[in-house]
């Protein structure tokens, strides 16, 4: 009879522009995109990854640490992770990390995970909706020297140092058994992410990083200055950890733009247009005329 054990999970998440709902407002007349019109959101499949980690904690005990790399605004997704049940959150933020491709990103994440120390499971979403590369998970697993399970949909069994996972991809499924530690990339069909808990939201609503202090002082005039706010947050375990390159054991040549073998040569905004266009009224008459025209042109039989 194997001993029941607990599992320490790390979940990697990303704040992304919501590219799924690009409406007319976001597109400019020239066919370029007004990125600032897109809201920044928690990458959808990263929520599924977080849910998978939280449900393991619910069943077996252990901890869930959430890491994100990004600008200071990315603290928002970390608060969201706290509201949903994460135990610890870390923001990797440094100019030296900026401009990273998937290679440099996975290297930075590897260094952060090694700093955390012990872990059993690493979770990522299958892919992020801004880049859609699905590369960071496998690249990170290689750098950590652990096996990977991509397209993970369900943990069928977790016992001792092994887990059984159902993978689900286009046109197929697979059942695999893997030794820990390992990395999973989680698909959107895996689960229904739990909403933020009201209690945790109240407990963690003040969680902040130092660059947010000036804004917060205006909101909470009861704090005299940044020092007193910082002291309060520290005492109440509400300081969100921010790690820079100096906090990690890194080779700086492998970070950010400098550590990225791929370079963007050019970017094109695609403008697709049709020459002839006709407006049809959404009325019975309008539709009937349309059908008649399509029949006449042998588009509809």
């Amino acid at each position: 009879m194997p001993l029941n054990r607990i599992y320490h999970s790390v979940v990697l998440v990303k704040q992304v522009p919501d590219t799924r709902n690009v409406t007319g407002e976001v597109m400019t007349a020239e066919g370029t995109m007004n990125r600032s019109a897109l809201p920044a959101i928690f990458n959808p499949e990263d929520l599924n990854a977080l849910e998978m980690a939280l449900s393991i904690k619910d069943q077996h005990g252990g901890s869930v640490t959430v890491i994100t790399m990004g600008p200071m605004q990315a603290a928002e997704v970390l608060r969201e992770a706290l509201f949903r049940g994460a135990d610890r959150v870390v923001l990797l933020s440094d100019r030296k990390f900026a401009g990273a491709d998937t290679q440099a990103t996975s290297y930075t994440l590897k260094c952060a995970i090694e700093k955390l120390g012990r872990y059993d499971l690493v979770f990522c979403g299958r892919q992020a909706i801004d880049g859609d590369t699905a590369q960071v998970g496998p690249q990170l697993a290689e750098k950590l020297g652990i096996p990977q399970i991509t397209y993970a949909e369900s943990i069928i069994d977790l016992e001792g140092d092994e887990l059984v996972v159902r993978r689900s991809f286009e046109l197929g499924t697979e059942l695999v058994k893997c030794k820990l530690p390992c990395l999973l990339t989680v698909v959107g069909s895996a689960n229904r992410p739990r909403p933020a808990s009201a209690r945790k939201r109240i407990e963690n609503k003040m969680a902040a990083i130092p660059s947010e202090y000036p804004k917060l002082l205006k909101k909470w005039p009861e704090f005299e200055n940044e020092q007193s706010l910082d002291k309060y947050l520290e005492q109440h375990k509400l300081s969100i950890e921010v790690w820079t390159a100096a906090d990690l054991n890194v080779n700086e040549n492998e970070l950010g733009l400098a550590g990225s073998p791929t370079q963007v040569y050019k970017v094109n905004y695609v403008v697709l247009e049709t020459a002839d266009s006709k407006e049809i009224q959404p009325t019975v008459d309008g539709i009937q005329e349309l059908i008649a025209e399509l029949v006449k042109e042998y588009i509809v039989e």
Binding site: T19, P138, V164, T173, P261, V264, V300
Partner: protein, 340 residues
């Protein structure tokens, strides 16, 4: 012939069946090799798959590296990445192409990470060209331009790997045309030794099921596709009904697939199928580039959307500004009456 400019193509096979995209890549690889004055090398891994080498040569390979081992029978990340990483270290190819299938997207980043080289995902086009680095004041000759949609498909980015080799890319199925096999083509087959580490077997496949696609959007004459504006099961039923009346297939934008109304197989766009039907009806689809690029070659496009500024209208031949819940029943009724 310049050996250090060889193009490698990973041949994905399962149960003796070569993935369509691998054959497409052999054709594209041959085209690039002609430009560079080099060769296409295919890497064929599996358990007793040597009989496939001839077919690989007919589709464009000059040289086949054949890695056969029982441990390579069913695809697993670690044994495959071990073999391919070692081969790439030994031979130093100039370019390494892999299909952007579930296997390719699992394998390619693992290899690129081990080799510390650049990798571009889900390319829709590949070309050879020069790259001028203004920062370094250097011209990199004959790089691989890796063209891919980014930012949810709203932009098309051209990526290069100026310094690291091989230049790695995964390429989507269906975007390159597969050539006809040439039975007179000659090529060499070279068996290579494989060696593993005990840690390569940390994962075991207990069972694997694959199925044939149930929808053939590529060949459909009429497609009725649903987007985010179709947001209830009832409205989705209207989409199915209209497709049915027209004898067409049901398609979907990414938003509709993500919302869970329909399986990913029906997705049209850069991350789904590319289609060219006679008639395309876009119901409640806003028309992100990611979607439009997959259907803008349709002969006639009817778009229905409540937002008069929706990008889909830029390419629609017939614009209907209105609610799908009202317009679709009118279309269905009108078509049924015509049939009588």
């Amino acid at each position: 012939m310049t050996a250090e400019r060889n193009i490698w193509v990973f041949i994905e096979q399962e149960n003796q069946h070569i993935a369509e995209v691998s054959l497409e890549l052999l054709g594209k690889g041959a085209e690039i090799a002609r430009q560079l004055g080099s060769e296409v090398w295919a890497v064929l891994c599996g358990d007793a798959v040597g009989n496939l080498a001839e077919r690989v040569i007919q589709h464009g390979a000059d040289h086949v590296l054949l890695a056969e081992d029982r441990e390579l029978g069913i695809y697993r990340t670690l044994p495959y990445s071990r073999v391919l990483t070692n081969l790439a270290r030994q031979w130093k190819p100039y370019i390494f192409l892999i299909g952007a299938t579930p296997v390719g997207r699992d394998l390619a980043p693992r290899i690129a990470s081990a080799l510390k080289v650049g990798l571009t995902a889900d390319c829709t086009d590949l070309q050879i060209g020069d790259y001028v680095s203004k920062k370094e004041q250097v011209v990199y000759k004959d790089l691989l331009y890796q063209v891919r949609p980014a930012f949810g498909g709203n932009i098309i980015a051209t990526i290069v790997n100026p310094k690291t080799r091989p230049q790695m890319a995964t390429v989507r199925e269906g975007v390159m045309r597969r050539g006809e096999p040439n039975p007179n083509r000659k090529g060499r087959v070279e068996r290579v030794k494989v060696a593993f580490e005990p840690t390569d077997f940390a994962l075991r496949v207990l069972s694997r099921e694959t199925r044939e696609p149930t929808v053939r959007l590529k060949d459909a004459a009429v497609i009725v596709a649903a987007g985010a504006g179709v947001d209830s099961p009832e409205e989705f039923e209207l989409v199915r009904e209209l497709a049915n009346v027209l004898g067409g297939e049901v398609g979907a934008s990414r938003a509709a697939v993500d919302a869970g109304f329909i399986s990913r197989e029906h997705q049209i766009g850069q991350t789904g199928s590319t289609v060219r039907p006679r008639l395309y009806i876009a119901a409640g689809i806003s028309g992100a580039i990611q979607h439009r690029a997959g259907m803008d070659q349709s002969s006639k496009i009817i778009a229905i959307n409540t937002d008069p500024n929706a990008p889909i209208f830029q390419i629609a031949h017939y614009k209907i500004v209105g609610d799908v819940a009202e317009v679709l029943p009118m279309l269905i009724k009108s078509l049924r009456e015509k049939a009588k």
